[in-house]
């Protein structure tokens, strides 16, 4: 089963500058998860101020430039992971957020051929 995992947080809150040790530890984690065949795709997401919101209502488009004022956004990283079940996806998410030190990760199943 494929799962979509992403970090969630308040992008207006100041983020500490990542240390070289953090990059090293995160690199090792990514390598391990990739070797295990768990991570199939991953990427980072830029702040909402660099994006736009597109709405279609009553036949009319509205396009609003970021930032958007939601309290919590998908911030930073996301990954598509291949796990046997939700429990495995949760375990890998724990390991990931363990490297972050603290934070919130959400993981949701992706529909596929089952």
């Amino acid at each position: 089963m494929r799962f979509f995992g992403y970090t969630l947080g308040d992008e207006s809150a100041p983020q500490p500058e990542p240390t070289p040790e953090f990059f090293e530890e995160m690199g090792k984690f990514m390598e391990e998860a990739t070797t295990a065949g768990v991570i199939v795709a991953t990427g980072g997401i830029a702040p909402t101020m660099m994006g736009a919101k597109i709405t279609l209502k009553d036949g009319a488009f509205t396009v609003v430039d970021g930032p958007f004022a939601e309290a919590k956004e998908l911030i930073g990283g996301w990954a598509l992971v291949e796990c046997r079940d939700l429990a495995e996806a949760i375990e890998w998410s724990k390991r990931f957020v363990g490297v972050l030190g603290e934070g919130e990760v959400r993981v949701r199943p992706v529909f596929g051929p089952e």
Binding site: E25, K28, E32, A36, V40, E82, E88, E91
Partner: protein, 425 residues
């Protein structure tokens, strides 16, 4: 978190860690069966201690340390000189674990052990079903119940096969190492074969009512990705991975809403998984960078990539496919490849040209019992307007199909062509 939840969480940790534990332990104690027991004993400790004391921050390292201590206890009880030698190794490793916290983040030694274990699990001294079972158990981390379910076999059969396989390895004194030299090629071929057999059983199941079993494909892909990470210099490793990624990209399109198989050219290509196609093409590219003479897996992946690149079936580059099938027939002579080549020729140069090749295959009698030979011949005959002969071929195909879904597909073609055949002059 409820007790059931926490058991599920521990199970998940264990499924992830089990293959790594067994690989490391197997090197230390030089016995896969004992390694498995030690790993399981460590799990029992975890099931008791973690709910009580909390899950350790690094559960993998915890399990590894506990299992290695148990290995020491076992070896102490066992008093041979050889065993004492192993003891020194284990002691040293535990010290490293304690001192270096992050021996467990440094993957390379464990990954080497996993590659060794994969080669042992796929050793030619074992029967092919045993190799498949060991690979799923020790590299995939599946338990007996899961393997039995995956292959629709009684659990007792799988359990027995595991016991016998471990004994065979021990009796034959198979060394826990990655083979080198000439031996490596044939041993690697066995590893690739085992992984592809698992994949194929998922991709077109030979047993049961379902035509595809995506879970098995996923297990094989996992093993393929693992092998590509562990042995990145072998072109065929990437060739096999590319083939499996590309074929997996079509899984969702391969079964219709009525659960019947949908043939490649009839598939809705919009539901092909673009991510897997991209991964497949990139693995194929890696295989190509490692050699100028692609092997059978890379050639089959190249064939799959030809289809993957065609956004619509009518865009398929059949001339390129004929060329690739000719290369494949030389790299891996097989009547099944010849049959596929005949299909490609029929698409590139018309059904009559394809039929000549198919009839040639029929004359050789090698594929008499292969249902696809008859359904291909039926197709070509139908295209040539020879409906009565076509129906006869589809009927043979129906009687030979092993899978319920394939049988149904053949039956449908018999019905579809029946009307035209009845009205034939």
């Amino acid at each position: 978190m409820s007790a059931a939840d926490s058991t599920a969480a521990i199970d998940a940790v264990f499924r992830i860690e089990f293959p790594r534990l067994v690989a490391s332990l197997a090197r230390l104690v030089n016995d896969i069966g004992l390694a498995e027991e030690l790993a399981q004993d460590a799990l029992v400790d975890a099931l008791i201690q973690w709910p009580r004391d909390g899950t350790p921050r690094n559960p993998g390292a915890w399990l590894m340390t506990v299992a290695k201590r148990k290995a020491i206890d076992r070896i102490r009880r066992d008093r041979t000189f050889e065993a004492k030698q192993s003891l020194l190794v284990v002691d040293a490793e535990i010290d490293t674990d304690r001192a270096g916290f992050r021996d467990d983040l440094d993957q390379s030694p464990i990954e080497d052990d996993r590659l060794r274990l994969l080669f042992v699990a796929c050793h030619p001294v074992l029967s092919v079903p045993s190799r498949i079972t060991l690979a799923l158990r020790f590299l995939g981390g599946l338990n007996t119940t899961e393997i039995a379910r995956a292959f629709l076999q009684p659990e007792a059969t799988v359990a027995q096969r595991l016991v016998r396989a471990k004994k065979t390895i021990a009796d034959a004194g198979v060394p826990f190492e990655v083979p080198t030299g000439d031996d490596r090629d044939s041993r690697l071929a066995s590893v690739l074969e085992v992984i592809y057999l698992i994949f194929n059983e998922g991709y077109s199941a030979t047993a049961g009512d379902d035509w595809i079993r995506p879970d098995l494909c996923a297990e094989a892909l996992r093993l393929g990705r693992l092998l590509a990470a562990l042995s990145p210099d072998d072109p065929e490793v990437h060739g096999l991975l590319a083939l499996m990624e590309l074929q997996s990209s079509r899984l969702a399109a391969r079964v219709g809403p009525d659960r019947k198989p949908v043939l490649l050219l009839d598939q809705d290509r919009r539901v092909w998984d673009r991510l897997l196609i991209t991964r497949g093409l990139s693995s194929l590219d890696q295989a190509g960078q490692l050699t100028d003479a692609p092997g059978p897996y890379a050639l089959q992946a190249a064939i799959a990539s030809c289809h993957a690149r065609a956004v619509r079936a009518e865009h398929t580059d059949w001339d390129e496919l004929v060329r690739l099938y000719e290369l494949l027939a030389r790299a891996m002579p097989s009547p099944v490849v010849d049959l596929n080549r005949a299909v490609a020729v029929s698409m590139a140069s018309g059904p009559a040209a394809g039929l000549v090749l198919v009839d040639h295959l029929c004359d050789s009698n090698t594929l008499d019992q292969y249902h696809l030979l008859h359904s291909v011949r039926g197709d070509l005959l139908a295209k040539l307007g020879r409906h009565v002969e076509a129906r006869a071929e589809f009927e043979i195909a129906e009687s030979l199909a092993q899978n319920a879904a394939e049988r149904e597909l053949a039956a449908e073609r018999v019905r579809a062509i029946g009307h035209q055949a009845d009205n034939a002059p």
